[in-house]
Symmetry: C3
Amino acid sequence: MTQTILITGGARSGKSRIAEARCLSIGRPAIYIATAQAHDAEMRARIAEHQARRGPEWHMIAEPIELATVLHASDGKGPRLVDCLTLWLSNLMLAGHDWRGATSDLIAALTKQASPVVLVTNEVGMGIVPENALARAFRDAAGTINQWVAAEADEVVLAVSGLPVKVK
Amino acid sequence: MTQTILITGGARSGKSRIAEARCLSIGRPAIYIATAQAHDAEMRARIAEHQARRGPEWHMIAEPIELATVLHASDGKGPRLVDCLTLWLSNLMLAGHDWRGATSDLIAALTKQASPVVLVTNEVGMGIVPENALARAFRDAAGTINQWVAAEADEVVLAVSGLPVKVK
Amino acid sequence: MTQTILITGGARSGKSRIAEARCLSIGRPAIYIATAQAHDAEMRARIAEHQARRGPEWHMIAEPIELATVLHASDGKGPRLVDCLTLWLSNLMLAGHDWRGATSDLIAALTKQASPVVLVTNEVGMGIVPENALARAFRDAAGTINQWVAAEADEVVLAVSGLPVKVK
């Protein structure tokens, strides 16, 4: 049984839409684990608006850092959608966390799930080398996380112009 | 019958060459709709040079903004190649036009064509997030246009190192 | 018989790992032609470390510029891995060489090899247009080299999240 599905793609490539449809095709209601941080009233309003737009088939969880914990706590309650790993990496780096250790914990958690998990991530390494050293470190880490999760995933899809290209 | 074909890819990925060959495989002569603007003598000379290089199998039209109008006016006269949507978006934004409305008009026009249309566009969202807010807005708009046109297209191809990868 | 294999992909896409495995699947020992320049003690230490990590199945050659010469000299001694063409282009441009001529020489050399050659390159053209003119010239040249080598190659693979996508 397919358990872990990774949807990758560039900005505005339709990856979240593909991931949402894939997750709901597995089961309803589904659990949306958003890594975006509700720093202020505007973000809280946007999250509330997204939740309203998604309708009753989605249960919303906001979790910027502790993905492994949230996966364990939500297991058995329906398919989960994690959107997205790249924002999660950004949160980890901003908070001074060890992203390698956190990713190992995430992968260990993925292998123990009874309910499926769909994860969204970003392609950030196909442009010119960034002049900024932090941006280079970020894209190296993002690419490494993508490789590690893709190696564990049962299914990997690249979104191109809103369309899915099967990678694994 | 395949009517709308979208060829996407990065800079110097061979997308225009693939699109030209695809368009001429449909019929000759074909109509080349260039969205590059002839701002000055240098650009006019380049367009003339391109036209000469392409030879008699191409009829050249330069149109930076009004793609829907040009498609209607050229319908029935041969297959059309639009090169490219990303430059067209840039022209729309610089002129202060509503790109969403213009794209809706373009898609409505595509659905009404009797002669096939091949469109070239660019992948611009697979690098690191740009620091410049205008660049971020541009890549979001470019990705959205690609999704909308790809959803309508009968065939979508990603150019990689000059080679076509079938997406749809 | 497959002779020339091109592995392309973004930063940290797993392209070198895929290329190393592909090269060793052809024959052992294999010859690793590194285009990275050993400018200083740190780089020399890194190259020594890489060589140690790779183990006795690899014979290491460092060559920043003269790829055609090295290919001819190493032919018949095992499969070769060239890692990577993008760094080679950077070396050519920094040294003021004619990259078009050097690429023609490389392709002419590839057509004459008895032993297979696996080449690694980078996708650098799927981000937003760089503001820096040198970066734009670099990505245009990198894309052009990728097209030329891919046209000659018997097999082309795009690495996405560490996984191979067959392009040719």
